[in-house]
């Protein structure tokens, strides 16, 4: 926790501009890790706070539609969020603030890598492992992989197993609009469809 809070949208904007990159990641990407079972209205904390606590649904919707997986790094994402809030505020006479709800508390997280001890050597073993690993492993390999190439199972499928077409198919799955459990289900369905009659 950073001990910093925003009571209105201008303070939110200032916070997003100032906080460490790890805080932007916490409130966007790691939302999925924190909300495994049931989702808040939007898959990023800034959007949910604007919509629910400030009751500014327009800003909530504008922030929610930003697909964080479209951005190569956190700084680009930060720039996009700042631009949206800044533009939104220029269209208003007064700065929307929390009257009855809770302020926004800035947080940040540290990701700790823990080997599961589960090893896959082919697509079938990969599919079986997907089914039984903790959902945090799904998060690590499919939501963080873009930033950690060594953790990218699709690169492994492509280069080590020689299944470039399967990797391409799985890469088209968009994590932003589903939960970790939903992502797992989609991955399993895609693997099953590929294996069909020919187990790899």
């Amino acid at each position: 926790m950073l001990g910093r809070a925003a009571w209105d949208e201008r303070e939110l904007l200032a916070g997003i501009e100032d906080v460490p990159a790890g805080s932007i990641s916490y409130h966007t990407r790691s939302y999925f890790l924190r909300s495994r079972y049931l989702a808040a209205p939007y898959p990023n904390d800034f959007a949910t706070w604007a919509a629910i606590q400030v009751r500014d649904r327009v800003l909530g919707e504008r922030l929610a539609v930003v697909d964080l997986f479209d951005f190569a790094d956190v700084e680009q994402l930060r720039g996009e969020l700042v631009g949206i809030i800044d533009h939104h505020l220029t269209t208003l006479q007064t700065v929307p603030r929390v009257d009855y709800g809770e302020p926004f508390h800035f947080m940040r997280s540290t990701l700790i890598e823990v080997p599961t001890g589960i090893v896959a050597r082919n697509l079938r073993e990969f599919r079986d492992a997907l089914e039984r690993v903790d959902t945090s492993a799904i998060y690590f390999h499919f939501y963080e992989a873009g930033r950690r190439s060594a953790a990218d199972p699709l690169a492994w499928l492509e280069t080590e197993v020689g299944l470039a077409d399967v990797a391409a198919r799985l890469r088209r799955l968009n994590p932003y609009v589903t939960s970790l459990a939903g992502m797992r289900a989609q991955l399993l369905t895609a693997c099953d469809a590929v294996m069909g009659g020919s187990a790899q």
């Binding site: 926790m1 079972y37 080997p115 039984r132």
Partner: protein
């Protein structure tokens, strides 16, 4: 479970996925052989002691040499720390220099007596917080081990003088843990968020058979002939038991039901005794209102009441974390809670229950759920799964292990 009734990690396989326990063990491997000492102010009574009785053997089983030290002090010391506790939770309290001195001297005496030599020293709540000022340095002059202050109370609006006094010690730690983001303070040390948790295998939360539930309700003279609304909490104004009675009365105009208000004895709390008297009076003319004053050890009874209830209410206007909400949710019940403290974190509005802001809102949601049993059943299922993911001791253990890994890197 071992022969002496000690819960083992494998016992949790019945309630959490195997992968969760595997993750705990893998995480613990990173710090196997390291040592941890918990320090608090009592070995019996209260949520922290209850939690430590579970934690210590589980941490030990995970390969971490874990001890539990308890500070001791004269009656005056505990009077002072009670004042600290109240002031940090926002109540106006008067402090004298003699009170501060008593606190400091007792901490100094304990620092000389207790064995605080460990890789991680986890100090719980304000009573032992000043131990760090007297931590014995190693031969190189540096303090051995990483010290973390664990704050279990609501410090969102502390009385300034008390917090300023305590802050001088908190800033000497390597980090502080709070239970909610809004409890975070401006501090020059890292602040960590760890939600409290419930133990699904404890007497308060373990599965009960319908016969066990019926036996308890019979013993407590609570008939199961109509839907039961239940609030479990101390008789405290912040828990708003009179508001719950008023909500029940609004419901009762249309729908037949019973209200059970169950809480602990208020003998040592003059204001609590006053609230209890008002609640007794308010409920005295209605045979469907049951006010139960239970001893602090009545875990089995609370468990049975929660399982017998149709709807659990926790209509607090001010709350620390409010784990009775998670307890109710774990029993597969929809919970209607006040929009306060940790209740807002536990209840997902419209999915696991409802947060409400008034007596009327509470009454409306009770009526809605009584008239839509399918919705209530589904919410109860969602509630149990939500607790399984977020508010069980296994998640709590994992976060403490992750913190140790981070501190000892």
């Amino acid at each position: 479970m071992t022969r002496d009734g000690q819960i083992r990690l494998d016992d949790y396989r019945a309630v959490v996925p195997t992968a969760t326990l595997d993750l705990l063990r893998r995480l613990a491997e990173r710090i196997r052989g390291r040592s941890l000492v918990h320090v608090n102010s009592t070995r019996v009574g209260g949520g922290v002691a209850e939690m430590l009785h579970r934690y210590v053997p589980l941490f030990t089983e995970l390969g971490i040499a874990t001890r539990w030290e308890v500070i001791s002090g004269a009656e005056e010391f505990f009077r002072v720390t009670k004042s600290f506790h109240n002031a940090l939770q926002g109540q106006e309290q008067a402090f004298t220099n003699a009170m501060f001195q008593s606190y400091l001297e007792t901490n100094k005496e304990n620092a000389g007596r207790l064995n605080l030599d460990a890789d991680v020293v986890l100090v719980h709540d304000p009573q032992p917080a000043a131990l760090i000022a007297h931590a014995r340095p190693a031969s190189d002059g540096k303090r051995r081990g990483r010290w973390v202050w664990r704050c279990h109370i609501d410090v969102s609006r502390p009385q300034r003088r008390a917090w300023t006094f305590l802050r001088q010690f908190v800033t000497q730690y390597n980090g502080a843990i709070f239970s909610l983001p809004k409890f975070a303070q401006r501090l020059p040390v890292p602040q960590y968020l760890i939600y409290p948790s419930i133990d699904p295998l404890s007497e308060k939360n373990r599965d009960l058979t319908p016969d066990e539930v019926a036996a308890v309700l019979q013993r407590l003279s609570v008939p199961q002939d109509k839907p039961i609304l239940l609030q479990v909490s101390r008789f405290d104004r912040f828990k708003d038991p009179l508001g719950v009675i008023n909500a029940y009365r609004l419901v009762k105009k249309h729908d037949d039901c019973r209200l059970v208000l169950a809480g602990g004895s208020a003998d040592d709390d003059p204001e609590g005794a006053q609230v209890l008297a008002e609640v007794m009076d308010a409920g005295s003319h209605d045979p469907d209102i049951h006010v139960l004053v239970l001893p602090p050890t009545a875990h089995h009874e609370i468990n049975a009441l929660q399982r017998a209830a149709a709807i659990i209410v926790q209509k607090s206007t001010r709350e620390g974390f409010g784990l009775t909400v998670a307890e109710g949710m774990w029993k597969g019940k929809p919970v209607i809670g006040g929009f306060a403290g940790g209740i807002t974190v536990q209840i997902i509005w419209g999915v696991t229950g409802y947060t409400v802001n008034s007596v009327e809102g509470c009454a409306f949601r009770i009526r809605y759920l009584l008239h839509n049993p399918d919705v209530a059943t589904q919410m109860g299922r969602n509630a149990r799964e939500s607790v399984r993911e977020q508010f069980l001791i296994t998640r709590d253990l994992a976060e403490h292990l992750a913190l140790m890994v981070t501190l000892l890197r």
